[in-house]
Amino acid sequence: MSWLINSSIGRKFIMALSGLTLVLFLLFHMSMNLVSIISIDAYEQICEFLGTNWYAVAGTVALAGLFLIHICYAIVLTLRNRKARGNDQYASSNLSDVPWSSKNMFVLGLAILVFLLVHLYDFWFKMMFAELFHMHDIVVLPEQVGNHMLVVFANPIKVALYLIGIVAIWFHLSHGIWSMCQSSGLNGRTWLPRLKCVANIVSTIVCIGFAIVPLYFFAKSLLCTSCM
């Protein structure tokens, strides 16, 4: 199976597969988040379920592995592609009419990575990591999640940061979702425009679903400062 590393299409196939699993994870994460708006109690139960149990920890490690594969391949592909472009750059800038996101997937990926680190520090580090390593001073237990979200999203700068991250995800997905079908050979003349449309719909659903939560908790923190 060395062709998965050595051939250009093999590398793209790995990118597509890891991308697909990450999209599925995003869909799950988004559905889970939306529960917090409907019922905080139910959400805290989900957090309990996905807390420091062995299967949740194993899942987290697997997910981190997927992210690493996706990022490592992105770096390798970008470096190889820069080399293939040659040493002399064009003097006149490329005016080909193509979607902006398709040319900036790596930059968008970096923006998402920064957002991911901020997000991991805000929640995962204080919930799973702190509990696993018994850091009692910062730990947020599952039954405190509702309050913790209110505290985090009461900060308008945090909310703005989250929204920027979510917009970056929209651009990344709007190219990534149809692109992974193209790289794995699923596209045809009929399905190419359809999948581009599906990509836009899915990325919009994901991003609206994600954006609602910080906005909801920001509004809630404004409305009842007494809950803080």
Partner: protein, 251 residues
């Protein structure tokens, strides 16, 4: 009505593959808008020769858009600002009076510059030699109805076969990838029963050759499709990916 324009040219001059190149600026007055782009370059070269200077080297052959010899990256577009044509079919009426026109060679690690605007595109020949053919002895011409082929397949194979191998896809691609060229050459055969016999072997060996020659990895930007003078679709790239992955998983 013969209208004329005055233009400024910024042309890439490079004496050899190993030497450093630079832009030279030339002024040309009274160029007829009826003339073609390459005729304009002929006029430039004539004035350069008359002045005792070295003419600009550029590729061209049939001058009717079918041979794939002409190249040139003009004002940020391979084959110039007009759509679905090659450089030799581009006319000076597409440019304004007083305009500065930047002319560069294809730039890609796979296409090293030979001189000025001429690049070495033998990499494409090597990719074709790696498997872009059928090695079946066809024998005498048989009855046209002997092998039924659906009209859609025949049409799509013909569309893929319209690729003239000029390299504009590589020139336009930010990754210097040759996937549109390769996918057209694989598709024109993969769609027809005669080409199916060797389809798996063809996809594997042509992709291996492309990677070996230092072309980039496709990231589905789609600039190749936009700039292709023959409108070859990137759905061919999906077909190539499919053929390649199928062949590899069968191994």
């Amino acid at each position: 009505m013969d209208k004329t324009i005055n233009i400024t040219l910024k042309v890439w001059r490079q004496r050899g593959p190993k030497e450093k190149g630079a832009f030279e600026t030339y002024k040309l007055d009274g160029i007829s808008t009826e003339s073609s782009f390459l005729e304009m370059l002929d006029i430039l070269n004539e004035t350069l020769i008359n002045k005792g200077q070295e003419p600009v080297v550029f590729d061209h052959d049939c001058r009717e858009g079918i041979c794939g010899m002409c190249s040139l990256y003009i004002n940020g577009h391979p084959h110039g600002p007009d759509e679905d044509i090659t450089t030799c079919q581009l006319h000076m009426r597409k440019f304004k009076d007083g305009e500065t026109i930047t002319i560069e060679p294809w730039r890609s690690a796979g296409f090293p510059v030979i001189r000025d605007l001429m690049v070495d595109r033998t990499a494409f020949d090597q990719i074709i030699q790696a498997g872009g053919y059928t090695s079946i002895n066809a024998g005498g011409a048989q009855d046209a109805n002997a092998i039924p082929i659906p009209k859609e397949d025949a049409d799509e194979a013909m569309d893929s076969a319209s690729c003239i191998g000029c390299g504009a896809c590589v020139a336009a691609c930010k990754n210097g990838s040759a996937m549109l060229f390769l996918s057209a050459k694989v598709s024109q055969l993969a769609l027809l029963p005669q080409g199916r016999v060797e389809a798996a072997k063809r996809a594997k060996s042509m992709v291996a050759k492309m990677d070996e020659l230092g072309f980039g990895n496709c990231t589905n930007t789609g600039a190749c499709e936009v700039e292709c003078p023959k409108n070859v679709s990137i759905s061919n790239i999906a077909r190539l990916n499919r053929e390649f992955l199928k062949a590899k998983f069968r191994d």
